[in-house]
Structures are given as structure tokens and as C-alpha cells.
Symmetry: C2
Subunit: 158 residues, 2 copies
Amino acid sequence: MSSLNEPRWLDPDEMAAWRGFVTASNLLNRRLERQLKEDSGLSHQQYEILVHLSAAPGDSLRMTELADKLVTSKSGLTYQVTQLERMGLVSRRSCPSDVRGVFAELTDQGREVLRQAAPGHVALVRELLIDVLTRDQLAVLAEGLGEVSARLRLDETP
Amino acid sequence: MSSLNEPRWLDPDEMAAWRGFVTASNLLNRRLERQLKEDSGLSHQQYEILVHLSAAPGDSLRMTELADKLVTSKSGLTYQVTQLERMGLVSRRSCPSDVRGVFAELTDQGREVLRQAAPGHVALVRELLIDVLTRDQLAVLAEGLGEVSARLRLDETP
DNA sequence: ACACCTTTGTTCGAATTTGAACAACAGGAG
DNA sequence: CTCCTGTTGTTCAAATTCGAACAAAGGTGT
């Protein structure tokens, strides 16, 4: 037999995919971070918080739910929401049905800042990622990484 | 005309690709971070440093070159190399041809720790990403994200 | 040799992130 | 109702990250 305890290393194609994924992710994040900060004074994380809130019914989400969507820690979210609250872009509201619960809600100013920040951000995402890929590549990426995400979500909860 | 100043927003397919990319990246990083830390006491970043060094001729790289490969800041690398040096996994060596230059070099112990950490890490990357995708999806991902990375590298230098 | 501009790696302070510990509460079985 | 278990959001200390500023060299053209 060829290898019983030997791990299955990545072949060149697999390695290329993995390295490409990691590198693209890092480079992209760096760029978006810089652009958002300079252009709107927001970090990528803060921008994403505003986006998720604006997409939610009532422009508000429970802290835990928001943390899940952002894929971040609860404590990390607490910190960022506090920052956004100081900037006046988000406000906290207690939950009627659960005394422990806290809603993060988009303020009018938050909505306005997001509206102003979005075009530049989307344009860059387009320039650096979307428009670099063909329609087919985009479809494969969406389906493949969608499946990867879905599986990762699963064995995290149980 | 339909829209002159209106930005080109992402259509559903594009949005799915973008969200999938961001989410998969975050979830994956989280998992790998946890596994590496528990299994080998290394952060993902530290692991990557060891990997890049072991792949380099002479098991060593200049600080700047290494920072580029890792897609991180110079100061961030300085910090991590110092940590790895304290752990005895990496050592600094001055460059003969350039007094300012500093080589980060893998120590024997560093090579050993990497050898011990690699199988578990690769197995998880395989389980969570590689083996979830088909051969074709992998090829598309490698080529697409490779191109994305290449372009990002370009307009960063000038 | 000289001024001039770039590179190299580190240092510094500020901002962010994380996991563990925690207090307060919800929800259900008995 | 009461005990028990799981949730919720925050706090805390520690670790990490970044960018700007910096000192020390390289390299170039004159």
C-alpha cells in the first residue's frame, strides 16, 4: 500500500486553489479596509454591520443574530456596536419579549452614512473581484463557496 | 438613459458570489485558527510563516519578502517573528550583502513543529474546502482567484 | 565625494479582536 | 412553583494588528 498514515497532501491544483483563496482574501480585505477608512471613516467590519442592519426588517437585529451573520465573536460585536453608537450610526434598544435581549438598530444618520459609503465600496468590489471574473466563474464561486459556508455553519451549532 | 451617476449594484448572482467569498473566508479562518491553536499552539499566521520559510531556499527569507508573501504589514511581521523567535521556531540572521537586511530562518525545532502541525491542518483544509468542491470547481477557483490576486499585486506596488 | 530619494526593519501608541468568566434571565421537566 | 440547563450580552485581560514616524543604509546622478 502507498500510504496508510501519510496524510493526503494537496496536489498542485488543490494547492493553487487554496493559496489563491487565502491570498485573494487577504489582499482584498486590505484594499477594502483602506478604501472604506479613507472614504467614509468606517472599517470593513463596521460597514458590514450597517449593511446587515439595513437589510434586516425594521433595520434592526439581535446582537447574537448579528454576530452570526458577521461571523465574529459576541464580544467583538459588543465593542463595534459601542463604537458605532458613539458615532451615532447605530443605537441599542432592549427587546420587549426578552429582558436580556438587545437590538442593534440603524439610525437615520447610519442609513445616510451607509448610502454615502456604499457606491465607492461596491465599485471597488466590482473592480477587484466581480469584473475580473467571467459569469461562469462567478456562478461556480457562488455555488462552491456557498456550499462550503453552509457546511461550516452546520457543525458549528451542534 | 437609465443611470448615469447610479452605481452598478451587484445583481443576485454577483452578490451570492461576494457573500459566499466573505462568509466562507471568515468561517474557514475561524475554524483553522481554533484547530491550529489547540493542536499545535500556533496561530494561523504563525503557521503560515513557518510554511513560507520551509518552502524557501535555505529555509530563510528577508523580512520584507516574507511580509509580501503573507500579505501583512511589516510591523505585524516583526511582532510575529519575535514571538516565533521566543518559541525557538525561527531565528533572525543579518544579511551579508545589506546591513539593514534581516533574514528570518527556520530552526530545526521550527521544522519539527511544522512537520507535526501540518497533517492536521491540511486534513482540515481538505475536509472543509478542498473535498467539498469538485475538481472542476477547484480549477475555476484556482484560476479565477489567481487572476484576482495577480491584479491586486500589481497596482499595489506603483 | 556629494546631495537626494528610496528601502529596510523596528518602535511606538492606538485600535481591534478574542476567549473565558460572569450575572441575569428564559424555558422546560419534575 | 422550583430546580436545572441553556442563552444573552457584557466585561475583562491578553494578544494581535495596523499605520505613521523613525534611524540607518542602499543607490543614483552629477
